[in-house]
């Protein structure tokens, strides 16, 4: 099992590279002590990923701190300030810059979602997991996953209004 894929997974699920680093370290230290048992599983990497998600959610409960998304300095001056809704994305710059800025802005919105919603969005759209698989990871029902995704997408849609954006029925079960 390699460190970098785990870090990448945690970086996306937490939407916070610093938090991801802490979470992965904690999980690996705990996993190492019982690695023979975990390694004997058919999909040990999935088990460690589940540990990462659980650690992230519990970490958030303990620390109750707000995470931040590091933004490219070039994008910082162009994105809308918190609470200000851009008009269909961003209005300045060329097309490529706009796409980058839209992604940055969207990323910041995702990072501001409640942790469980954030994890659902990451698992659904980055890991391409079905709602059933996400439910198994988060130890909840698929309907709960769908409602979390629904709320998250509604939040994102409100912040980035576009009639075509973020269809609620985007996942699978």
């Amino acid at each position: 099992m390699r460190l970098e894929p785990l870090l990448r997974y945690a970086t996306v699920v937490t939407c916070d590279a610093h938090l991801a680093e802490d979470v992965v370290q904690d999980v690996l230290i705990r996993a190492q002590g019982r690695w023979r048992r975990i390694g004997a599983l058919d999909a040990p990497e999935r088990y460690v990923q589940r540990m990462i998600v659980n650690e992230f959610l519990s970490w958030r409960r303990r620390r109750a701190t707000r995470s931040s998304v590091p933004l490219d300095p070039a994008a910082l001056g162009r994105i809308a300030p918190s609470g200000e809704v851009p008009n269909g994305g961003l209005t300045s710059g060329n097309s490529a810059e706009r796409q980058v800025d839209d992604r940055e802005y969207l990323l910041r919105l995702i990072a501001s979602l409640p942790p469980r919603q954030r994890a659902v969005i990451a698992l659904r759209y980055y890991e391409d997991l079905s709602d059933g698989q996400i439910a198994e990871l988060l130890n909840c029902r698929p309907t709960t996953v769908r409602s979390q995704a629904c709320r998250a997408l509604a939040t994102l849609r409100r912040a980035m209004p576009d009639p075509r954006a973020f269809p609620v029925s985007g996942g699978t079960s």
Partner: protein, 338 residues
């Protein structure tokens, strides 16, 4: 804007992965810190136990096993037994039990036992060796028996108990819960058994009150490691005993160097001839310290420094581990095969 934008945004976030080498260094420091904290807790716990022992002594009598032998010191081997829990009453012709393994991690929430079966003489503990295993997961660990590979489970009945059957590309698994605190997982890979045969084995599984004695103990591990699993050969098989702690395994017995490459640096460990072998497997360095205790009995300290890459265990630590090993001289395989 659509969900593709979310994917693009998350892809962008994935590119912000922390620098791996730096995380690796910090991880090593944190692992050491964690080990120190754990040792402090153990010292406190030991002090509490010391205070409590006079009270308990009349009730509980510690029973060490017989004489022991070691590359460096001779101490009594704390007797550790592997409860076998369940066994199949029927096996296909030619399939025999090879090893029994038990989770021994301190503080483990549950206890799992794995009995391994094979047709040949290769150790089924090694990846790729055709084998069948019966794993019993107890207590909180029972969910470890639930597969997570995304293959849709097919319902089965094992003597009236509902269970599941899953067939993957390389193996097939039957899982059922004989009671509320136990999960049994029967897994077959490479033995060529069909679903009907596997179900017949599953239906023959019955409680087993027997146990196996672990004849091996390791007196010293690097601070960040804790013992995780013990493995001992089944009756009638060449005597092998193994204890695993994280990335390190200590194996004693006859014919245990089949998986160890030849050559290496000659050494002397505890007065015994030994060799030190390093193998680069991809970027995962594997090391083996092979000590010849008796003409047909070897001690192998194997280290996989790949996982987590937090702390590298080198020759010095491997030798120290080997020198702390003690073997119960009353172990029948030790006395008859020596």
């Amino acid at each position: 804007m659509n969900t593709d934008m979310i994917r693009e945004a998350l892809d962008r976030q994935a590119d912000r992965v922390p620098e791996t080498q730096r995380v690796r260094r910090v991880l090593a420091a944190r692992a050491a810190q964690y080990a120190r904290r754990r040792r402090r807790r153990q010292v406190i716990a030991a002090a509490m136990v010391t205070a409590a022992v006079p009270l308990l002594w009349g009730l509980v009598r510690y029973q060490p096993a017989g004489r022991a032998t070691s590359a460096a010191t001779t101490v009594a081997v704390p007797q550790r037994t592997i409860p076998l829990r369940y066994r199949p009453a029927w096996l296909p012709p030619g399939v025999h039990e090879a090893t029994d393994a038990m989770t021994i991690a301190p503080g483990a929430s549950g206890l799992s036992v794995k009995r391994s079966y094979t047709r040949g003489t290769d150790d089924p503990d090694y990846v790729g060796v055709p084998s069948m295993t019966i794993s019993v997961f107890v207590g909180d660990d029972r969910l470890l028996g639930v597969r997570q590979q995304g293959v849709s489970p097919e319902p089965i009945s094992v003597n009236g108990i509902p269970g599941t059957y899953q067939k993957g590309p390389d193996d097939q698994v039957m899982t059922w819960l004989p009671d509320s605190s136990v999960t049994i997982m029967l897994r077959e890979a490479g033995l060529g058994l069909d679903r009907t045969t596997l179900l017949r084995i599953a239906r023959s599984v019955m409680p087993d009150a027997g146990s196996r004695v672990m004849p091996l103990a390791v007196g010293w591990w690097p601070g960040h490691l804790a013992e995780g699993r013990a493995v001992v050969s089944a009756s009638g098989q060449p005597g092998v005993a193994k204890i695993e702690a994280g990335t390190v395994s200590v194996t004693v017995g006859s014919d245990v160097d089949r998986h160890v490459p030849g050559g290496g640096q000659p050494l002397t460990v505890g007065g015994h001839p030994a060799r030190w072998v390093t193998v680069a497997q991809g970027d995962l360095p594997l090391t083996y310290l092979v000590v010849v205790l008796r003409p047909r009995h070897l001690l192998v300290v194997a280290v996989n420094n790949g996982f987590g890459e937090s702390t590298v265990i080198g020759q010095r630590d491997s030798i120290r581990i080997a020198e702390s090993v003690v073997i119960d001289e009353t172990w029948p395989d030790w006395t008859t095969n020596g």
